[in-house]
């Protein structure tokens, strides 16, 4: 695949006490564009991940009311899957490839996405000078784009994350299909545990440590699916509009006990793009600016077996992130109006939430909090986006929701309390990237 540059680590804020972010309130999200949402690729050119990425970007540009020629940056994740790798030896559909301007890798636009491919296939982007990878997920793309705009490397930037999904089973290809295992995976993969094994191990310890049960997750799962059904672009809303009663959740088959089927997010394909710009330029755009107050990254190195962090390491990482987020944004924990931390796997949402130390939820408290009102009508809505649980595995619903809540455009999901400050980020409790969003730059 053509090389899309990787961001320098200096773009990420990892100090325990980083101080107020130097660009607080000077970068804003304005436009949002979503395209697609399907369980799997149907093999057509119009529904390949490249086509959806182009459409999502165009929607974000139009939503912001920007001239495409004004876009001078694009930050994207070049990987478009974690578990649906193109099978070795499988024929590449050249009829699809040839519908687009190609790079030197025919899978570009089908099972991966380079910056070069995007620019080649969006001829209206005539002035893009800054192209960068946001490695891993939208959470990283947002951080890189925000820092780039703040640093003056771009002034109007597309932020793009897309996910393809192929027929067949997730996580059965790629390195998992190789006859030998190398790297850190040699300590974990031979046990043949599913992807949620590490999180399940941490949650087992959590239940023992705090005297809780897996059943106590049920209200959170119900709430997340319910919120997801109000996300028009989501998988469940579009394809299987089914609520998730507690009994359905509790009875589901274990995948890695205590993580059951619903604790594992459903792989889908979809694309989302945002348009970020400077606070000054944002004032003249079509939508209300949502200001980025801070971003933070966890850099804890797990000491646990095979690279699985222990529960205590997760708790330490999440607490550090909470401190970094609040201090860097110049806010107090209870200033948060809502939270949209990552949930795919659902069980570690507990760790993320407790790390924020907000609204009286400290260590060991999240599951008790779930037994109360956590809905969009509550004083402190939990995951109003519904997250991956509510809309499928993309890791971007939470970010879109933060932008839309603060813009007042969340539709049926709009929270009852004023959406002044929100937080989102992920993926894992260790190693993720997180953002604080505000209705005001101050």
């Amino acid at each position: 695949m053509p090389q899309t540059p990787m961001p320098p680590m200096s773009m990420f804020r990892t100090a325990v006490h980083p101080g107020l972010w130097e660009h607080k309130g000077k970068v804003a999200a304005v436009g949002v564009g979503h395209e697609g949402t399907a369980r799997r690729w149907d093999g057509t050119a119009e529904n390949c991940i490249g086509a959806w990425s182009i459409a999502a970007c165009r929607k974000a540009i139009a939503d912001a009311g920007v001239n495409p020629a004004d876009v001078d940056g694009i930050v994207l994740d070049t990987s478009t899957t974690t578990g649906a790798h193109w099978p070795a030896g499988r024929e590449i559909p050249m009829d699809v490839v040839q519908k687009f301007n190609q790079t030197d890798d025919p899978l570009d636009g089908i099972a991966q996405l380079s910056g070069e491919w995007m620019v080649k296939n969006m001829p209206e982007l005539t002035n893009v000078k800054y192209i960068m990878t946001g490695p891993g997920c939208m959470s990283a793309c947002i951080v890189v784009a925000a820092q780039a705009i703040g640093d003056g490397l771009a002034h109007t930037c597309l932020v793009l994350k897309s996910w393809h999904n192929l027929d067949g089973r997730y996580y059965q290809g790629g390195a998992n299909a190789e006859p030998t295992i190398s790297g850190n995976a040699k300590w974990t993969n031979p046990w043949a545990g599913p992807a949620s094994l590490g999180t399940a191990t941490q949650f087992q310890r959590y239940m023992y440590k705090y005297g809780k049960s897996h059943d106590m997750m049920a209200p959170f799962m119900q709430n997340s699916r319910h919120n997801g059904l109000m996300f028009p672009e989501g998988y469940w809303a579009q394809h299987r509009p089914e609520e998730l009663p507690a009994e359905d959740y509790i009875n589901a088959r274990w995948v890695a006990k205590p993580a059951n089927l619903f604790d594992n997010d459903i792989p889908i394909m979809a694309s989302a793009a945002y348009l970020f710009t400077t606070a000054e330029r944002a004032r003249d755009m079509k939508q209300k600016p949502v200001y980025i107050l801070n971003h933070a990254r966890d850099n804890l190195v797990a000491r646990g077996f095979g690279g699985f962090p222990t529960l205590e390491e997760c708790e330490e990482a999440c607490a550090n992130v909470g401190v970094r987020l609040h201090e860097g944004a110049g806010i107090k924990p209870d200033d948060l109006s809502f939270e949209n931390m990552y949930d795919g796997f659902s069980l570690f949402h507990v760790f993320h939430l407790e790390g924020l130390r907000t609204h009286g939820i400290g260590l060991g408290d999240a599951l008790d909090a779930f037994q109360g009102d956590i809905s969009i009508s509550s004083p402190f809505p939990i995951s109003p986006s519904g997250g991956n649980i509510g809309s499928g595995r993309t890791r971007f619903w939470k970010h879109t929701d933060c932008i839309q809540q603060i813009q007042g455009r969340a539709g049926a999901r709009q929270i009852s309390v004023p959406a002044n400050i929100g937080v989102s980020g992920g993926p894992m409790p260790t190693g993720g990237n997180f953002t604080v969003w505000g209705s005001s730059p101050d």
Binding site: D167, D215, H239, D248, I250, N251, F262
Partner: protein, 159 residues
């Protein structure tokens, strides 16, 4: 109260049908070759699954009309499985989670149990529960229709 023992078996807790013409738990219609039960996986097996399989609604209805006890055993939730049966407009004799096939066997006393699916998990749970197993691509020719001719009954010595 939920317990490990009750995990997964969903429906029905009570007989589905009051009228004698319909199937229900304890149903005793004797087909020429014996009493048979067919469990269908959904995704990748039934035409209404995601992805669609080759077992059509017509095939399922035909099996029911001929006296087979029919139902679904899937990783889909009870809510989702009910929705599929409603879309097919067929009354199922049972709905269960895939890992609870053995409970289906406990509740229905028939001569032969069959599960149809598209994944190795289907095969594994079927074998663990003592069901015969057919892959979806083996089942679309409706081989169970042969059983009505007396070709499917388990020998009396094995009953």
């Amino acid at each position: 109260m939920y317990t490990e023992r009750t995990r997964g078996l969903i429906w029905p807790r009570t007989p589905l049908h009051a009228d004698a013409g319909s199937h229900s738990e304890g149903f005793t219609l004797e087909l020429p070759g014996g009493k048979f039960l067919i469990s269908f996986d959904i995704d990748g097996t039934l035409e209404l699954g995601d992805p669609p399989g080759r077992i059509t609604t017509e095939m399922v209805q035909r099996a029911r009309d001929l006296g087979f006890l029919i139902g679904s055993c899937s990783d889909r939730s009870a809510t989702s499985q009910r929705a599929i049966w409603e879309r097919m407009n067929i009354e199922a004799d049972f709905i269960a989670l895939k890992h609870m096939l053995d409970d289906v066997k406990t509740r229905f006393d028939v001569h032969r149990y069959l599960h149809i699916g598209d994944r190795d998990l289907d095969q594994m749970f079927a074998e663990q529960a003592g069901f015969d197993f057919l892959w979806e691509h083996e089942a679309y020719t409706e081989p169970w229709l042969d059983w009505l001719e007396g070709n499917g009954a388990v020998p009396a010595s094995e009953q």
